[in-house]
Amino acid sequence: MKAEHGGNIYAASRDSQQKEAIWLDYSANINPLGLAPSVKAAMLQAIDSVIHYPDADAYDLKRAICRAYGISSELITVGNGAVELLYVLSHIIQPHKVLVMAPTFSEYERAACSSGAQVSYYVLHAHDDFKVKSTVLINQIEMSQPELVFLCNPNNPTGVLMPPAEIAEVIAAAVKIKSFVVVDESFLDFLHWNVWTCQPLLSKFPNLIIAHSLTKFYAIPGLRLGFVLASEIMTRKLHLSKDPWNVNSIAQAAGVAALGDEVYAEQSRTYITQEKKFFYQSLGKISGLKPYEPAANYILVDIRQSPWTASALRQKMMEQKILIRDCSNYEGLGDDYIRLAVKSHEQNEQVLQVLQNIMKGELL
C-alpha cells in the first residue's frame, strides 16, 4: 500500500520540475490564518531549552489541554502528532481485525496493518452523500467482530459529521464484543468542539479512545503535535509503550501557547465558518463540479460530470502552481473526486477562477 497524503509540497515541486515552490497548497487542510504570533513567539523562546531533554511528563502541555478541553490529566497522552499515538495504540491492542470507514484518512489502516491486523471496511456511498448510518455500521461491527474500530468525525475527506448520540450507540455495540473504538476528532476545533465531541462518553465507555490533532487548527503540521484521551488504564499503557520524550520542547511550548490563545481560536472559527460556506456555494456554481457540504475546513468535490479525471485535474492545477488532493487512492473513491482545503478568501477566489477556466476549457 502506498500512503499518499495531502500537503506533500516537496514531492509536488520535485515532480513538477518547477524550480519555484508550489504557491497554493490546497491539498492539506491547514488553518488559513497561519501560525499564531503567540505560538511563534513561544517557539522562538523555547529554542534555547533544546539543550535539555523535553519534559517527559509534558506537565504544562497537559495542564493546557485540561483547561482548554475540560479533561483530567490522567486521561491525556500527548503525541508527536496524533498519528504517532494511533500506531502506539495499534501495537498495544494488537487487534486481529480492524474496521475502518471507506473512504477515510488512510493512517488508520496503516496503523492497523503495522501491527498485523486484517482490515475490513464500512463503505460509505456517494448516493447517500457519504453519510454514516449508525445502524448499518453497528450491523457490520456485529458481523465482522473487530477488536478495534476507527471513526473520523467529521470524516476526512468527506466532511460528514456524526452526532455524538449516534457515535454513543456505535460504541455501546462495540463494548458488547469487547472492541475498542477510536474517534478521531482532529478537525473539531474548526467547529464548536463542545457541541460535537464524544468526550462526555469517556466516563461511560472504557473502550472509547479520542484522538485529537493540534496541527491542523493551529497550523503547525511541520511541528507535529496531538493528543489522545482514553481510560486511565489505556492512558497508562500508552505511556509505557511510547518514547518518553516523543513531544519535543518546542512543540510542548507551542502547544501551551496555542491552547491559551482564545482570540486566535475564535477568529479562526469565525473565518472558516464564513469561508467554507462561500467556497462550497461558489464551487457548486461551476458546471462539472459537485461539492459535498463541508463540516470543517475541506471540501470533497465530485468531478464525474466534468471531462477530467482527478489525476489529470491535479496535473492541470499544478501547471497553475496549485496543489490539490487527488482522492483516487482513498479506499472507496475512484478517479472522480478531489479534495480542496478552505483557505483565505483571496486564495479561494483565485482557485475558483482557475477551476472555472479549466472547466470551461479555456486552459485546455
Binding site: 459529521l161 455524538p164 457541541v195 462526555p200
Partner: protein, 202 residues
C-alpha cells in the same frame, strides 16, 4: 393526536452578551448555527410532516436546518415571534434595572402583571401564540410538526399546555435549541419533554 416539537433557536451574539432581544432581528452566531445543525441531526429520524417558525431570523434559520433533513420548506408564522420587549430591546438586565427598577422588580416574580414599556405583556403573547397553536393542531391531526420559536414564547406555550399561571413562566428553563414535546389530544394536552439539549453533548 397532534405532536408538536417546540425548538428554541440557537445562540446569537445578543444571547452571549445577555441583551434582551425581543423582536429585534438578530441572527445566529457561529455556535448557534452549529447548535441548529445538531438539533436538526437529532430530529432527522422523526417522522415530521411540517416545520413552522417565527419569522425572526434566529428561529427561522434554526427551523431551516431541521426542515432540510426532511426536504420540507419552513412556513413562517409571526404569531410565534418572541415577546415584544419594547424599549428594553438591545439592553442588558443591569441597564434595564437602572432605568425601570420598579417594573424589573416584578419581571421575574410577577411577569403576568407587568407591562413592558412600549412592548407586549405575557398575556398578549399567550393569546397570539395559543391561537396559532390551536390552528395548527386542527390542520395536522395525527401528525408531528416542528415549531421553532423563542424562549419567552415557548415558555408561555408550555405554561398554557400545563395550565400554569403566567406568573410562573420563568419556572421553566429554555436553553438554546432546547427540544420540548407536547401531545395535543382532543380531551387533554400532555407535555412529554421539556428543555432537552442532549444533542449538544454537554
Amino acid at each position: 393526536m397532534t405532536k408538536i416539537i417546540y425548538v428554541r433557536h440557537g445562540q446569537t451574539a445578543w444571547n452571549l452578551e445577555m441583551k434582551y432581544q425581543g423582536q429585534t432581528d438578530i441572527f445566529l452566531n457561529s455556535l448557534g448555527l452549529e447548535q441548529a445543525e445538531a438539533v436538526a441531526m437529532r430530529l432527522a429520524s422523526e417522522d415530521i410532516h411540517a416545520v413552522y417558525a417565527s419569522d425572526l431570523k434566529r428561529a427561522y434559520a434554526t427551523a431551516e436546518a431541521i426542515a432540510d433533513k426532511h426536504h420540507l420548506t419552513v412556513q413562517s408564522e409571526p404569531a410565534f415571534r418572541e415577546i415584544h420587549f419594547g424599549e428594553w430591546e438591545g439592553l442588558t438586565y443591569d441597564s434595564i434595572c437602572k432605568q425601570w427598577p420598579d417594573v424589573m422588580n416584578h419581571l421575574y416574580s410577577r411577569p403576568d402583571e407587568i407591562s413592558i414599556p412600549g412592548g407586549e405583556s405575557f398575556r398578549d403573547l399567550k393569546k397570539r401564540a395559543v391561537v396559532a397553536i390551536e390552528r395548527l393542531v386542527k390542520k395536522h391531526p395525527d401528525e408531528t410538526i416542528v415549531v421553532a420559536s423563542h424562549g419567552g414564547t415557548i415558555r408561555t406555550i408550555l405554561c398554557a399546555a400545563l395550565n400554569i399561571h403566567l406568573n410562573y413562566v420563568w419556572n421553566i428553563k429554555q436553553d438554546n435549541t432546547a427540544v420540548n414535546v407536547v401531545e395535543y389530544y382532543p380531551e387533554r394536552t400532555i407535555v412529554c419533554l421539556m428543555n432537552d439539549t442532549c444533542h449538544l453533548g454537554r
